[in-house]
């Protein structure tokens, strides 16, 4: 097991290095100039800015300086927010995205497993049709529409009740998190429902379920011990990457609900060509994603004895 984890960690490190390198060179080849602004600047001011950010050096030199810095955990100073270190930005805003993301994933996982099992149990009957219709809706309606609609819904509920039942936007308390987390987790929930449904259906017809049935095991026990535990494996596989995807993909939800998460920086930095923030957020999220995948592999070993054997 230790050997397995160690091997995966080394692979992960190489992946992160590759992400860092690819992002660095892609970023420097994107047309545009991070130092340009509405009001044109004189040559000397430009030279000063270039020196400040080390852009006056050749790109390869910049690359090695940069690699050395991230090896020491230093992502540098933001181009757009001139007095803030990228490390500070990540430290202050990632926890917000993480809390929102974890809540969203919990909602998505619980909902997905529950609805997926239900549809499989009621296959081709009314509950199945209703849930699967909602699933298609959840996958195909873009999150900015759902976000805007649910916000409008909150306003309507508040005005009907004559008091602030749920906050319309902002961040701070649990009540601020509920709706954004639900919106954020909705697509994943729909996706997991489908996954759970098909894997449940596969297992319902498998030999060991039939054997259990013929042995006279009660249906509830078959469902819990044999079906659910086996069917949930593929869900766990995608859960790791989804946690990473959800915590990074919160851009729309963060804008609509005015939430100070890292997802905003991830997107806005690219629009502003904020080199250090692009690199910082990408490498950080890359590492996070890789870590999640490794974590899932390890958890898999605990849940499925077959993986451990190999």
């Amino acid at each position: 097991m230790m050997w397995f984890i160690g091997k995966r960690l080394v692979q992960g490190l190489i992946t992160v290095w590759f992400i860092a390198t690819a992002t660095f060179f892609a970023m420097h080849n994107v047309p545009g100039d991070p130092l340009l602004n509405d009001r044109a600047t004189t040559a000397i001011i430009r030279a000063n800015l270039e020196a400040k950010y080390g852009l006056d050096k050749p790109v390869t030199t910049q690359y090695f300086i940069y690699l050395n810095n991230i090896a020491h955990g230093d992502f540098g100073i933001s181009f757009a927010q001139e007095n803030r270190e990228v490390n500070d930005i990540i430290r202050e805003h990632f926890p917000v995205s993480a809390i929102l993301g974890i809540l969203a994933v919990v909602i998505a996982a619980v909902g997905g497993i529950l609805w997926g099992s239900l549809t499989a149990l009621y296959r081709n009957r009314l509950p199945d049709y209703i849930i699967m219709f909602l699933v298609i809706l959840g996958i195909s309606v873009p999150s900015f529409v759902i976000a805007a609609l649910s916000q409008l819904g909150i306003v309507t509920i508040n005005s009907l009740l004559g008091r602030t039942f749920l906050p319309v936007a902002g961040w701070g308390t649990i009540s601020h998190m509920l709706v954004p987390a639900l919106v954020l987790g909705l697509t994943t929930m729909a996706y997991l429902t489908r996954l759970m449904r098909s894997s449940m259906l596969e297992i319902v017809n498998s030999d060991f379920v039939r054997t259990a049935k013929s042995k006279g095991v009660p249906p509830a026990r078959i469902f819990a011990r044999h079906q659910l535990r086996n069917a949930v494996l593929p869900v766990i596989t995608v859960l790791g990457p989804s946690i990473a995807a959800i915590t990074t993909g919160g851009f729309v939800v963060e804008i609509v609900f005015a939430i100070p998460g890292l997802g905003r920086f991830f997107v806005e930095a690219v629009q502003q060509l904020d080199y250090t923030v692009i690199m910082g957020t990408t490498v950080f999220y890359g590492a996070f994603l890789v870590f999640m995948v490794i974590l899932v592999d390890v958890i898999y070993g605990f849940i499925d004895p077959r993986v451990r054997m190999n």
Binding site: P31, A40, I45, N48, S78, Q151, W171, I255, R264, F265
Partner: protein
């Protein structure tokens, strides 16, 4: 009620949870807190930093305009009014400012002329790399200091005493009072600045304030609290005890929802929102935000757009009112007819009344005639595709699609739209990689020159490289003439020359429809200065 909130009443765990879930519930929302004399507002974007010497964006300007005060400020009607300076005198060769005795920093220390001397030297110091340093260039030696030729001590600004600031001009600058009202001219206190170890303006406690409000809390990208500055000298500004910036978002739909829910005092309305707003019987106001949008041509030699007849052909094929009323359909926009927007002032009244813009009518026959002439002059049978560089905002995409279709139909020209994100559009504009660019220009200060010098051959913002000795000479007169009439005549000539030479094609003047909570009075949106201004705002519930 106030004591209820103090710690004298510890709540049980269940009511704590209830409070957590229903934070701040009340029937009217939190937009206006009469009891605390506080309002809740939004900010469009997170200020990158709040260093007045280096800020360039609208959101930072809004915050800085409340937390600081320069020598001269704006009054409720956007006229100049004394700020830290009690009085001033502008001469041909320089200016003198006499500072008031009672202007203080938020720690009680008096604001002195040295604070301005330090701040201004710092802006032109090339080490600061301030993007707005150019706005100081009318001060003696400013350009030389900024380009590293002279040390910063040689800048023509000198504190004679605590209360007297002397400024020497490079050339006569009759509009210097208007310049001084700009954000980059705000004071900075040297001892405090030095104590921040290069982090000045990064956080609420890395600044010291002299404006009506001070920032007491700043959670990045989330919220801010501005409290009344107890040391602020005037009782004519800063009536609220607290301004809470509770939301930082650029999403106008989210802001509208917050306004509907009674959580914020003001929000802007886009055209699709107007019917709903009218149904709610809201009082809808309108303001021009000051910016003029136009077609900037690439005048570099070798470009098709360098040809005057070609530009004239485009001019006669278009009418800005058609763009605004038929394509953009933004109720608060005005068709642009000149480089100078409608709100610019002339000698005694509006510039537009004293110097009406050249009359323009669409004339397809003339347009085709000029296009023929252009073909002959350029010696081509067919024009190559014209590259139209545009931003990626919804409005610029609609505008570029509209022009693409219009010039194809009316002139048979092929327009290739090159939509780019902000920084890439700027990079292409700077390197001249376009034929036409959809650009905008907003005012820095309340004088026609903020638009008038745009096409100067030496102006780095003139990214189409328009170059005309005639234009340059008018601009020189406009910059330095001490006779207001002569100056305005020069602007009139600039306006005419821009039209005759088709230096650009005006498209629209941007405006905003907006709605304000009726209990908030004295709130202003502005064309010049901070886009939203709460310095004169106060709560009045009597009309409720």
């Amino acid at each position: 009620m106030r004591c209820m909130r103090s710690s004298a009443y510890p709540c049980s765990s269940t009511s704590c949870l209830w409070l957590l879930l229903n934070s701040g519930s009340n029937s009217t929302g939190q937009a206006i807190d009469v009891e605390d004399n506080a309002v809740t507002i939004t900010l469009r974007a997170e200020p990158p930093q709040l260093d007045q010497g280096r800020s360039t964006d609208a959101s930072s300007f809004v915050v800085l305009a409340h937390a600081f005060e320069g020598l001269i400020a704006y009054d409720e009607e956007a006229r100049l009014t004394p700020g830290v300076a009690e009085r001033w005198e502008i001469r041909e060769d320089g200016a003198t400012f006499w500072l008031r005795e009672d202007a203080k920093w938020s720690d009680g220390v008096p604001v002195t002329a040295y604070d301005f001397e330090f701040a201004w030297r710092r802006v032109v110091d090339p080490a600061t790399a301030s993007q707005y340093a150019f706005i100081f260039y009318s001060i003696k030696n400013a350009e030389a200091v900024n380009t590293g030729v002279l040390p910063k001590e040689m800048l023509g600004v000198r504190a004679v005493s605590d209360r007297q600031l002397e400024v020497e001009f490079e050339q006569p600058t009759p509009y210097f009072d208007k310049l001084v009202a700009f954000i980059t001219f705000l004071p900075v206190r040297e001892d405090f600045y030095n104590s921040t170890n290069g982090r000045y303006g990064a956080d609420a406690d890395e600044m010291i304030y002299n404006g009506p409000y001070m920032i007491t809390d700043w959670v990045h990208s989330a919220s801010m609290v501005w409290k009344k500055n107890p040391y602020y000298w005037s009782d004519k500004r800063g009536f609220l005890d607290e301004i809470r910036v509770a939301y930082i978002t650029s999403d106008t739909n989210a802001k509208l929802n917050l306004f509907k829910d009674g959580q914020i005092v003001e929000t802007e309305l886009l055209s699709p929102m107007l019917p709903g707003a009218m149904a709610e019987r809201w009082q809808i106001d309108r303001i021009m935000d000051g910016t003029v949008f136009f077609f900037e041509f690439n005048h570099r030699p070798g470009r098709v757009t360098d040809n005057l007849n070609f530009r004239k052909a485009l001019m006669y094929a278009h009418e800005s009112s058609e763009l605004v009323y038929k394509a953009l359909k933004e109720a608060s926009y005005l068709p642009a007819v000149s480089l100078f927007p409608a709100w610019i002032q002339g000698v005694n009244g509006p510039f537009r009344e004293e110097y009406p813009p050249p009359e323009h009518h669409m004339d397809l026959e003339k347009a085709r005639h000029h296009l023929e002439l252009a073909k002959q002059e350029l010696g081509v049978d067919e024009f190559p595709p014209i590259v139209m560089l545009s931003g990626d905002t919804p409005v610029s995409l609609v505008a570029s699609a509209y022009y693409q279709e219009l010039f194809r139909k009316r002139l048979g020209l092929e327009i290739r739209i090159d939509a780019q994100i902000f920084k890439q559009r700027l990079a292409k504009m700077t390197s001249g990689d376009f034929d036409i660019v959809l650009a905008g220009w907003g005012p820095d200060y309340d004088d026609a020159l903020t638009f008038g010098d745009f096409f100067a051959s030496w102006n780095l913002n003139n990214r189409g490289r328009y170059n005309s000795p005639e234009m340059d000479s008018y601009i020189r007169t406009a910059q330095s003439s001490l006779d207001p009439k002569e100056r305005m005549d020069a602007f009139g000539n600039i306006q005419q020359l821009v039209y005759d030479d088709v230096a650009m094609l005006p498209m629209y003047e941007r405006g905003w429809s907006f709605v304000v909570d009726p209990r908030l009075k004295g709130f202003r949106r502005r064309s010049v200065g901070p886009e939203v201004d709460y310095n004169y705002a106060y709560i009045d519930v009597s009309s409720d």
